[in-house]
């Protein structure tokens, strides 16, 4: 099996499995006041400190959630409602065209149900939001923006955004800035305080921790309207019993991932270079998407002319090679990638792409396994592409 879908989820690190398993055998609700509760609380708070240290934040700024999607929903909706509570005219949300659905969909929902004015920030051909684009959006009306949300690095094409510059502009206009950094942590240097971000989304299973746990890193004084009401466990902003085993696994994973970041990023970028070069040699009409240099170290994303991404995926799957078309929906029906469309590609190209993503277990053998079968599979998929009735 050649697993090249680490951007979807990556195997749990040994440290994370150890921490999570140890905690699974324990009893104690972190909110209980007795000894068992205190013991569980200690695990949670130590984990909080580890995560804060790994991400350049203070422990108090870590709000545990059920994962990236919840963190993004809390940031987008929570910041929008809090902003409007202070000033009813703050209705505009600035969001990049290439955000993950977990950001775009709550933004759209606010547009449909909560009077938000959604402004999609266009991206360049690499998928980048240029600082002047954000400035222009503010200049239309410097006073009506509730929040800005731009991801740290794109999950499909791997392009890294100029986050620090964008944050600076938003702060000139006294507007809060959220960034979804689930793909970036452990691959790039992500430092919450140094970038001046107001809120940052991270998640466990993209850094070698368990699925179903994440955090929103939010400045201490940031006003956030809660989505989940109940026990008020996390700063009264997020309710729900804290999942101590998952949190312990998450903390162990992010600590390991961040401490080994530079070495791993170097290793992954060599794999990336190897695969890009070999794909271009063996499938000359394949087109690399995204920024060739300034991209996630483990991300390789190509469009294969005349092919459908899902046909390629199926043929590779049959050969034991697992990758992604970079987009999915609930029913598993392939859609053209809105990220590629936002980058100026046509719909056919947006349907013809594949993402290979490397992670901790990847090797050059994986690259060779792909290259061994890819040219024949691309030829086959091209023939199949011609059979479908198209307008």
């Amino acid at each position: 099996m050649t697993y090249l879908d680490h951007a979807a989820t990556t195997p749990m690190l040994a440290e994370a499995i150890a921490a999570l398993s140890a905690e699974l055998a324990q009893v104690g609700n972190p909110s209980s006041l007795h000894a068992s509760g205190r013991r569980a609380r200690k695990v949670v708070e130590e984990s909080r400190e580890k995560i804060a240290a790994a991400i350049g934040a203070r422990p108090i700024e870590v709000i545990f959630t059920g994962g990236g999607t919840e963190s993004n929903n809390l940031a987008v909706k929570g910041l929008y409602w809090a902003a409007r509570k202070k000033d009813i005219n703050k209705k505009r949300i600035l969001v990049s065209a290439v955000e993950h659905h977990a950001v775009l969909d709550p933004v759209m929902w606010l547009g449909e149900h909560e009077e938000a004015t959604v402004e999609i920030l266009p991206v360049d051909n690499y998928g980048r939001v240029l600082p002047e684009t954000l400035r222009k959006a503010f200049e239309k009306n410097p006073h009506d923006v509730a929040l800005v949300s731009v991801m740290w690095a794109n999950n499909e094409v791997g392009t890294i955004q100029p986050i620090a510059e964008l944050v600076k502009i938003a702060h000139e206009y006294k507007t809060v800035f959220h960034s979804d950094a689930v793909q970036a942590v452990g691959c790039l240097e992500v430092h919450f305080q140094n970038t001046g971000l107001d809120a940052l989304t991270i998640t466990g299973h993209k850094v070698g921790g368990p699925q179903g746990v994440g955090a929103l890193i939010a400045k201490r004084d940031l006003e956030l309207t809660p989505l989940l009401h109940g026990g008020g466990q996390e700063r009264d902003v997020r309710s729900g019993t804290l999942d101590a085993p998952a949190i312990a696994g998450f903390a162990a994973a992010i600590t390991t991932a961040v401490s080994q970041r530079v070495a791993r990023a170097n290793r992954l970028s060599l794999l990336r270079k190897d695969l890009i070069q070999k794909v271009q040699e063996n499938v000359p009409d394949a087109v690399l998407n995204g920024d060739p240099e300034n991209r996630l170290p483990g991300n390789v994303h190509f469009s294969f002319k005349g092919c459908e991404g899902d046909a390629l995926l199926m043929l590779l799957d049959a050969q034991g090679i697992e990758c992604s078309t970079g987009s999915a929906c609930s029913a598993g029906i392939p859609q053209p990638s809105y990220v590629l469309i936002a980058m100026g590609k046509d719909e056919t190209t947006a349907r013809s792409s594949l993402r290979f993503s490397f992670g901790s277990t990847s090797t050059h053998d994986d690259v060779d396994s792909v290259i061994q079968v890819l040219p024949a599979i691309v030829e086959r998929a091209k023939r199949a592409g011609k059979t479908m009735v198209k307008k």
């Binding site: 899902d310 199926m314 029913a331 029906i333 086959r380 199949a384 059979t387 479908m388």
Partner: protein, 359 residues
């Protein structure tokens, strides 16, 4: 080499068992659920393309240990089946969308894609049989005459049949349900689907109204031309229809009247006595032979609906045009319907009805 087969899995009991049998027979099987409509959010209707059905198909594939994918053919389905259905009705014809779907989607778009992707065949849960002969494959009725679906497959040519596997043709439906249960397939107790999948509430007239709008016109006596009522659209009426006419003047003898014809140009619906419905000469085009091309003139039985009886007839064909003369007249046959010709249990071929008349 092991044959590679795409098992089209609708999420119903029949295609589930069909896939299971292929796995048992040693084929290299990949399950494919065809997304015929773009589904957003939660599954709504009971049509054949809801999320529920996709999930059921996936769970059966899990159980069988085969790979499973969803193929989006919604654009092709919209264009080739739904829009064709609407435009056929708009032109006063009565199409069969299931026949059309088999002809253009399952055994064309999907089959061609499968072959191009390196598969050898497509398998479905249809009840019909394919026999290999020295002259190529032939299509036959299923042994379960109640479930027989050879009529809706009568649009497959030999090339398509040679890449088609129908694992259920030699079984009866109750045995299939039992088998699904014994195999532990979650689709074992699912009810059969009967409606047109893209009109799950069964209200074809309402669907057409929605798409075609109101096209009011007159209902007239076919013999006298006398106006007997009004209607909201010719497409609401099919030859042989008796209900829903709301005629203002009954016949003096109170004998029932039926739709005997429609004219889309003048938006007129003609009604008359049952005797006027009886026809015995039918012409058809769009001929497809499911086996060797027959002589220009032959005896056969002809079937005009999915589950009607096949009636004795003589067939003549020349230059892609077919004339069928029934030995006994039949009732209420509309242009656009598929006429399938049989030699005993073998499907000779089919055509699309153009005209009907009484000799």
């Amino acid at each position: 080499m092991t044959k590679k087969v795409v098992a089209a899995m609708s999420g119903g009991v029949d295609s589930s068992v069909a896939a299971a049998r292929l796995v048992d027979q040693g084929y290299d099987v990949v399950g494919v659920h065809l997304a015929l409509a773009k589904v957003k959010g939660h599954a709504g209707g009971k049509g054949c393309c809801t999320l529920d059905d996709a999930r059921d198909a996936r769970r059966v594939a899990d159980r069988l240990g085969i790979a499973f994918y969803i193929w989006d053919v919604s654009e092709e389905f919209q264009q080739e089946v739904i829009e064709n259905f609407i435009s056929e009705y708009a032109q006063g014809r009565t199409p069969n969308p299931c026949v059309r779907c088999n002809e253009k989607i399952k055994f064309q778009a999907v089959l061609e894609r499968s072959l191009a992707l390196g598969f050898d065949a497509v398998a479905t849960g249809h009840y019909a049989q394919i026999f290999e002969t020295p002259n190529g494959p032939t299509l036959h009725r299923a042994i379960d005459s109640k479930k027989d679906q050879s009529y809706v497959l009568s649009v497959l040519n030999q090339e398509q049949l040679s890449h088609t596997i129908l694992p259920l043709g030699n079984s009866v439906k109750p045995d299939i349900r039992k088998e699904a249960e014994e195999r532990g397939l979650i689709t074992a107790a699912k009810p059969d689907s009967h409606d047109i999948c893209f009109i799950p509430d069964g209200d074809t007239a309402g669907f057409l109204h929605n798409k075609l709008g109101q096209e009011p016109g007159k209902i007239v006596d076919a013999e006298t031309g006398e106006e007997l009522g009004k209607h909201d659209g010719v497409f609401e009426f099919t030859i042989g229809q008796r209900k829903g006419l709301y005629l203002e003047k009954p016949r003096p003898d109170r004998s029932p009247r039926y739709v005997v014809g429609t004219d889309t140009k003048s938006k007129t619906v003609m009604v008359g006595l049952a005797s006027m419905l009886r026809v015995d000469v039918v012409t058809a085009t769009n001929l497809i032979w499911c086996g060797p091309i027959p002589d220009s003139q032959f005896d056969c039985t002809a079937q005009v609906r999915a589950h009607s009886n096949a009636l004795k007839a003589k067939a003549f064909h020349k230059d892609g045009n077919l004339t069928v003369e029934f030995l006994e007249p039949l009732n209420g046959l509309a242009p656009g319907q598929t006429i399938a010709l049989y030699d005993n249990t073998r499907v000779i071929g089919s055509g699309t009805v153009v005209t009907t008349s009484r000799s």
